[in-house]
């Protein structure tokens, strides 16, 4: 978002030209600048304040604005983690103060660069101040003791100084933990992060011009240093101790000391002369040494170029002797090994094996070449990337037999397997092989009596066939189509045979009944639909059910109703007969007409709406129930009634006013009259008495 967007938006919203809008916006910000430059604060409502402090403008947003910006973290409050005791609090304060001071020192040191560059690496920021202050004292102590520092020691000299300062601080218990932590961290850094390399890198940079005070300090470091002399053979001569300190050092020398004192020149161990010689002989190339000394700008040429010239003759002789001895030993060992092998015959056997292996390998390659034919045509075929040559007939039979045993469950005896057909040379690819396999399988199936189908058929013959649902339906349909056979009724056991009725008589009766029933066409239809087993029972139930229905009907209509009894009892006649007229008794008829009296509107009046009828009905109800309600009566008569609410509220209003209660009004009048009479009587009596 920028001013351009602002101008566009305002010009669109307020229908002003963009130039006018830009001018106005510019004027707004110009006025703000003018007021600020005049030294006044600005307060813009619902936006914020522009406050001047030390000729610098700061903006404090309004509450609404700040809340809108800090929407994601709104409602978070400060949490009290822990409360300090007085001692703890003071310790903490002291620690914070010192840290602040050290930070200030560090910042000052950064500006100087030349001194603190070294100090920052070796010392923590907290202790740095103390080192700077105590430096002079330490050095003063060192001078009378005349301690001589070698160049490698000089590098760690600063660290030692630091240690001294740490020891002093150890008395303060508050800092013990911090110092220990720092020391552990520093040690880890020194070990893991190649602390020395960092120092080296810093040393490589050209030293900056030093201040007079620093020069004095540097003199203290440099006073005992002497340029190291290099002996041929990579060994460096030990620097002899200087008895008297050097007062002044030239700048050139100083530079050399700064650099040379911090180079890592490894002194070789001088155990014996022979060892040195062996080292020299093993590493005669002096090319590696300059790589190490590249760090030092000018004094890197530690390794001399004319080393062999300085070697004495006696050493040369000894080396020659050693070399000769070594060569002799090697030759002897080689000879011994060769002889051993020749004796054991390992060398000859190995050669033979190799020849055999090569021959076998060649054979294998030839076989593979025979089996596979890689041509351009075959390569084009997607199906056959690698076309194997057709196998021999014997192998093929075996494979097929194996496949058959897998596919068909029956184990095919070898005698039954026919001879395979002659192999087609035109077979190519996997699909062709499959086709061929299918063909072979078919041929085998034809020839062999044991097939999968035959195996399945055997099982089918054994298992009895159950009738399916379709067959069952067909059977039932046939049974229904058949004419009804003569039914021989079965007499139930509970019908006891009496001497009057023999068993034959009962049977005859039953037969007659059944015949009668069968003659009925309705029964015939019913009979065809029902099952054989439940025929008799169902018919009986049906008949009895019909009888019951008739009886019920008779009972309902009552005995008073003279109903013509139907001649035929059959169902069909009942159904076919015309519907009978309802015969209603006179008493019931009158009641019915009373209830169902139609409300006809009076002649000449319009048909009223439902609402009007409802209101009238309600009014009538009011009128009927509260016969003394004059208001509703009047309203009804006048036709002021409009809705139920009107009626209700009017009625209640009348109630309150006392219009509704006629009787109460009359009682009051009477009571009033009585009271009037009584008072009048009293007054007359009193007048008579006084008079």
């Amino acid at each position: 978002m920028s001013r351009l967007i602002l101008i566009k938006k305002i010009s669109e919203e307020f229908s002003i030209s963009e130039s006018a809008a830009s001018d106005y916006i510019k004027s707004i910000f110009d006025t703000i600048l003018e007021t600020l430059s005049s030294g006044k604060n600005i307060n813009i409502a619902d936006f914020g304040k522009f406050i001047l402090k030390n000729n610098k403008v700061s903006f404090s947003p309004s509450r609404r604005f700040s809340e809108a910006v800090n929407y994601n973290f709104a409602g978070l409050e400060t949490i009290k983690i822990r409360s300090y005791g007085e001692k703890e609090f003071q310790e903490k304060l002291n620690f914070l103060k010192r840290r602040q001071e050290s930070l200030e020192v560090e910042l000052v040191g950064v500006e100087k660069e030349d001194i603190t560059r070294y100090m920052k690496i070796a010392t923590p920021p907290v202790i740095q101040e103390s080192i700077e202050t105590e430096k002079k004292e330490e050095f003063e102590d060192l001078i009378p003791h005349e301690d001589i520092l070698t160049p490698p020691e000089q590098v760690t000299g600063e660290m030692e100084n630091v240690k001294i300062s740490l020891e002093d601080l150890e008395s303060d218990d508050n800092f013990n933990n911090d110092i220990e932590d720092f020391a552990s961290v520093a040690i880890d850094k020194f070990l893991n992060d190649n602390f020395g390399e960092q120092i080296k890198k810093e040393i490589i940079t050209p030293p900056l011009p030093l201040e007079p005070e620093i020069k004095q300090e540097s003199v203290l470091f440099i006073k005992d240093f002497k340029k190291p002399e290099i002996i041929p053979g990579g060994a460096i001569e030990e620097i002899p101790a200087i008895e008297q300190p050097v007062e002044k050092i030239l700048p050139d020398e100083q530079k050399t000391i700064d650099t040379a004192g911090e180079t890592e020149i490894v002194e070789p161990e001088k155990e014996s002369l022979a060892q040195d010689l062996t080292v020299f002989l093993k590493q005669p190339e002096p090319a590696e040494i300059p790589e190490q000394t590249e760090i030092v700008p000018e004094q890197t040429e530690i390794v001399p170029e004319h080393i062999p010239e300085t070697i004495p003759e006696s050493i040369k002789e000894t080396t020659k002797e050693i070399e000769e001895k070594i060569e002799e030993k090697i030759e002897e060992k080689v000879k011994e090994k060769v002889e051993d092998k020749i004796i054991s015959g390992d060398i000859g056997a190995g050669q033979d094996d190799l020849a055999k292996m090569i021959a076998e390998r060649e054979k294998m390659i030839v076989d593979i070449e025979k089996t596979f034919t890689f041509t351009a045509e075959t390569f084009k075929n997607k199906d056959a990337d690698v076309i194997p040559k057709p196998p021999e007939p014997e192998d093929k039979i075996k494979d097929e037999a194996a496949e058959k045993t897998q596919d068909t469950i029956i184990d095919v005896p070898k005698e039954i397997i026919p001879e395979p057909p002659v192999k087609d040379i035109t077979i190519k690819g996997f699909e062709d092989i499959l086709k061929e396999r299918e063909k072979i399988l078919k041929e085998i199936e034809k020839s062999s009596p044991f097939t999968a189908d035959a195996f399945m058929k055997k099982d089918e013959d054994k298992t009895p066939k159950l009738p399916g649902p379709e067959e069952k339906l067909e059977k039932k349909a046939e049974e229904i189509k058949k004419p009804p056979q003569d039914i021989t009724p079965v007499i139930p056991q509970h019908e006891a045979v009496t001497p009057e009725k023999s068993y034959d008589d009962i049977l005859e009766e039953r037969k007659k009944e059944t015949e009668r029933k069968l003659d009925n066409p309705q029964f015939q239809v019913f009979n065809s639909l029902t099952d054989e087993a439940n025929k008799q029972g169902d018919i009986d139930d049906f008949i009895t059910g019909l009888d019951k229905m008739r009886e019920n009907l008779k009972n309902r209509e009552g005995s008073t109703i003279e109903e013509p009894i139907p001649e035929t009892t059959s169902l069909t006649e009942e159904i076919q007969a015309p519907p009978k007229e309802r015969v209603i008794p006179s008493a019931v008829k009158d009641l019915h007409f009373e209830i169902e009296k139609p409300v006809e509107p009076p002649i000449g009046e319009k048909i009223k709406s439902f609402n009007d009828v409802f209101i009238e009905d309600n009014a009538m109800i009011f009128y009927n129930t509260k016969g003394n309600n004059t208001a509703s009566e009047e309203m009804f008569r006048n036709g002021n009634l409009k809705s139920y609410d009107d009626v209700f509220f009017r009625f209640e209003a009348d109630k309150k006013s006392g219009k509704t209660d006629k009787t109460k009004g009359t009682d009051k009048k009477i009571i009033g009259l009585i009271w009037f009479v009584i008072i009048a009587a009293i007054i007359t009596i009193l007048v008579l008495i006084f008079s």
Binding site: M1, S2, R3, I5, L6, K9, I10, E13, F14, I16, A20, D23, Y24, I25, S27, I28, F29, D30, T31, I32, L33, T35, L36, S37, G39, K40, I42, N43, I44, A45, D46, F47, F50, L52, N55, K56, V57, F59, P61, F65, S66, A68, V69, N70, Y71, N72, F73, L76, E77, T78, I79, K80, I81, R82, S83, Y84, E86, F89, K92, L96
Partner: protein
């Protein structure tokens, strides 16, 4: 200085009516407000830059209660002026 005085001064330089000028003035700072909240910043040429600065959670010592306090994170509005005020 209040908004009223600012509007007066700004309108006096232009030919825009006072009422309309007030509306535009309010709208200008509304747009800036909107820009800062939605886009985390608004840049006005030759004037300044409004930015949203995130201050992370930190611990501080309260000297009054002598206790350590955890201050929650916060998004603040930061204004960096692009003008130099003349020294008196």
């Amino acid at each position: 200085m209040n908004t009223k005085n600012l509007i007066k001064k700004s309108v006096a330089k232009n030919s825009i009516q006072r009422g309309k000028g007030a509306l535009i003035f309010n709208r200008v700072f509304e747009i800036i407000h909107q820009g800062v909240t939605e886009d985390n910043g608004f840049y006005v040429e030759n004037f300044g830059k409004f930015e949203v600065e995130h201050r992370e959670m930190k611990t501080e010592i309260d000297f009054k209660s002598k206790s350590e306090i955890l201050i929650p994170p916060k998004d603040k509005v930061k204004f960096t002026p692009l003008f130099l005020l003349k020294k008196k």
